[in-house]
């Protein structure tokens, strides 16, 4: 079955289409107009649905989803409030939304009114030769219509007739899904936590550092309102990762800025992040809730429930603090000052390496970090302390950041290949670290917060004990895989690629 997915900036009526038919024709168009309803366009902050060509509309008790690739319409009933795909009951829409952005909340983008029409091209005996379905959407004074014509088996010419008819009525093949927003005058900025930067290979390193830092400050700041509104945990996560990247640039580009200024800036950014540390820890904990329930034996579940009740309450308190902090004048002033500082590169005193050509410095930094990671990895044996594995994790993370920052300066395909080979090892090390942090977090509760659970101390201790034992076992499992994953990452081919990409740059 063929389909033609189109956009047209008007409501194409039955009358109009019939008028466009040739004078002597056996065909006629019939449209069944749907009821006009009020609804809202929904998507995640990072446009996860539309990026996958899915347009989601919410209305009273129902969701309508149009697949803009296939032209297919799906509907599902909704009972009550929902924010995440997992909150929906089983259904066709849920099926498509699941896995798109499981941690992201679906938020209203714009209020609209719309109707769904079903049309058909009929022959002189009333037989349907081709069909189309359209969604006519109004927003304020604008209108647009998304539709799709589909062929029926054995009736190719009828389909072609219908497509050309729609085209004569102004329909254009939908090639850019965001045209929908533009046409309706809905302002929707694109968001990504992994921006593609424009870097100049020969520009002084201090300038490139400013470009990268500027970009990540901007990304971090775009998440502020989402954190305050507490839509989902990804806002805080992206906020923190972006500021962490800023700090990484400052410490990795050692000597690019004046040492004293660098330390001062590092302290400033650390301070900004500090107040959100505990909230992120609690988020991670609460996200893992279901997994934890699966991990512990039944007798510990009651204790776990008490523990999670406590953590949820703590999160509420912690969120209040973070919100207050983000809305404070002090925060605004501090972030504004940092933002303006990086607006241009000449405001910051440079260090001895500040004038180095960016590509040269980049190549040098990547190679150095790669060699360092290899050195640490080679020293790891069964008896090596965990702290060394942590060092390897940090080294790999920095290597990854460097490669990501500098992707535009090197052959994109090769560098992406290297990042990909690093991913398995990083996932492995990341889990190793998570399990370790989680154990420490639990220990902290036992050591400091047991007083909060008056009368239930034994239940809590039991649950924490059971959970810690499981986390310890999982951590050990991850640790045992580190060496394997490293040797898989550091194949001869990978080593060669690193040298090819980054040693050559040094010669240049």
């Amino acid at each position: 079955m063929e389909s033609f997915v189109y956009i047209v900036h008007s409501d194409v009526s039955e009358k109009k289409l019939n008028k466009l038919l040739p004078a002597k024709t056996d065909y006629n168009i019939q449209i069944e107009t749907g009821e006009v309803v009020q609804g809202v366009v929904l998507d995640t902050f990072d446009n996860a649905a539309l990026a996958q060509s899915l347009l989601l509309l919410g209305l009273e008790g129902r969701l309508v989803l149009m697949n803009l690739k296939t032209g297919e319409f799906l509907e599902q009933e909704v009972a009550g409030e929902w924010r995440f795909a997992k909150d929906l009951s089983a259904g066709l829409v849920k099926e498509l939304l699941s896995g798109l952005a499981d941690l992201r909340a679906f938020l209203p983008v714009a209020k609209v009114t719309f109707h769904r029409d079903r049309g058909a091209l009929l022959d002189d005996e009333g037989k349907t030769r081709a069909r189309y379905s359209s969604l006519v959407v109004h927003h304020k004074k604008s209108i647009t219509c998304l539709g799709s014509a589909t062929s029926l088996r054995g009736y190719q010419s009828g389909y072609e007739e219908l497509v050309s008819l729609l085209q004569n009525a102004g329909a254009k093949e939908l090639t850019d899904v965001f045209a929908f927003y533009r046409q309706l005058g809905i302002k929707r900025e694109l968001y990504t936590n992994k921006p593609v930067l424009t870097l100049d290979a020969t520009a002084p390193a201090s300038e490139t550092a400013a470009v990268i830092i500027r970009a990540f400050i901007q990304i971090a700041r775009r998440n502020e309102s989402g954190i305050v509104a507490d839509h989902d945990t990804e806002f805080l996560h992206d906020y923190r990762v972006s500021f962490r990247k800023v700090r990484s640039v400052l410490s990795l580009f050692k000597g690019v800025y004046e040492p004293e200024k660098t330390s001062e800036l590092k302290a400033d950014f650390a301070l900004i992040m500090q107040s959100t540390n505990r909230l992120r820890d609690l988020d991670v904990y609460l996200m893992e809730k279901e997994n934890y329930y699966k991990m512990v034996p039944d007798p510990s579940v009651a204790g776990l429930e008490l523990l999670f009740e406590y953590l949820a309450k703590e999160r509420k308190k912690e969120l209040k603090k973070v919100v207050k902090d983000l809305q404070s004048e002090e925060y605004a002033a501090r972030v504004a000052a940092l933002t303006s500082l990086f607006k241009s590169s000449d405001k910051i005193p440079t260090g001895p390496k500040g004038a180095l050509p960016s590509k040269l410095l980049a190549a040098h930094l990547v190679l150095k970090r790669y060699n360092q990671a290899c050195k640490i990895a080679c020293s790891i044996e069964r008896t090596t302390p965990d702290s060394v594995v942590h060092d390897l994790r940090i080294s790999c993370k920095k290597l990854r950041y460097l490669m990501e920052f500098f992707t535009p300066l090197f052959d994109e395909e090769s560098i992406k290949k290297l990042i990909k080979t690093l991913k398995n090892l990083q996932d492995n090390l990341g889990k190793f670290n998570d399990y370790s942090v989680q154990q420490a977090f639990l220990r902290h509760i036992l050591d400091h917060d047991l007083g909060q659970f008056k009368g239930n101390e034994i239940q809590i201790s039991e649950a924490v004990g059971a959970l810690t034992a499981m986390l310890f076992r999982l951590q050990k499992k991850e640790r045992n895989q580190v060496m394997n994953n490293f040797s898989r990452f550091n194949s001869e081919e990978t080593g060669l690629l690193f040298k090819q990409l980054f040693e050559i740059a040094e010669v240049e």
């Binding site: 022959d123 005996e125 009333g126 037989k127 349907t128 029926l152 088996r153 054995g154 009736y155």
Partner: protein, 249 residues
């Protein structure tokens, strides 16, 4: 893919109405359905407003199987396609005889659309020919409409004997009562006698209905327009029973 034939060696028993309405019930239950009108005088295509394709006749250079696939037309209903009885199929017997191993040729032709459909329903002409023998061999089940009268019971007897004499599996036969008028004493009595004789007779039956007669006016399956729910329900219920007996998942 399951193949279900609708066959009667006697005309005027509601065979085409049965094919059309069962195919519709099948499609409505979510199965991808192809209704093949093998009866040159058949009207399945007419009931779905599908015109026989003139173009196909002119494309004689096409291979036969390809021609068969090309003649498939979508109906106006989801999951339901049709092969109308067009000029080409008047010569279906010739088509089949041109292929080697004439008795399994139909299967070969249907194999070409195997992955496109869950169920194929064959509306067969009311005679015994090379085509119908292909059908007996190929079909998983053969539904046989029987009007509960003395004459119809004799035809059914003939069909069973033909199957036995020619080595076809009689368990494929699924006779059912068609155009039943319970107000008629003859119908009631015949049903009683025949049910005793033929254990394979389907329990559900199709009552006589003026709504079915009006299919030619509406040019649509009776379930889509009938005011009285009962006739539509009868076909749906019969389809359910056939589904179970044919082991259609």
């Amino acid at each position: 893919m399951k193949i279900i034939a609708c066959y009667s060696n006697k005309g005027g028993v509601g065979k085409t109405a049965t094919s059309v309405n069962l195919a519709y019930a099948c499609a409505r239950s979510g199965k991808r359905t192809l209704l093949c009108d093998l009866d040159p005088q058949g009207a399945s295509g007419f009931y779905f407003r599908i015109k026989p394709s003139r173009k196909l006749k002119d494309r004689a250079f096409f291979k036969d199987v390809e021609r068969f696939v090309d003649s498939i037309r979508a109906s106006d209903y989801d999951n339901l396609d049709l092969v109308p009885a067009n000029m080409t199929f008047k010569d279906f017997d010739i088509f089949l005889s041109r292929m080697k191993n004439s008795r399994s040729r139909l299967k070969k032709a249907l194999k070409a659309v195997d992955s496109d459909y869950d169920v194929i329903i064959l509306d067969c002409p009311p005679n015994i020919s090379l085509l119908s023998e292909n059908v007996f061999k190929t079909a998983d089940k053969i539904v046989v409409p029987v009007i509960p009268t003395t004459l119809s019971s004799r035809t059914l007897e003939q069909l069973y004997s033909f199957f036995k004499d020619n080595g076809y599996q009689t368990k494929k036969l699924l006779p059912f009562f068609s155009m039943v008028q319970l107000s008629k004493k003859l119908h009631k009595e015949s049903m009683h006698i025949l049910r005793k004789k033929y254990k394979g007779l389907l329990k559900p039956y199709i009552p006589f209905s003026s709504e079915v007669e009006r299919m030619g006016v509406h040019r649509a399956p009776v379930i889509t327009y009938a005011n009285k729910k009962s006739i539509g329900d009868a076909y749906a219920e019969m389809w359910k029973d056939i589904e179970i007996k044919t082991k259609i998942a």
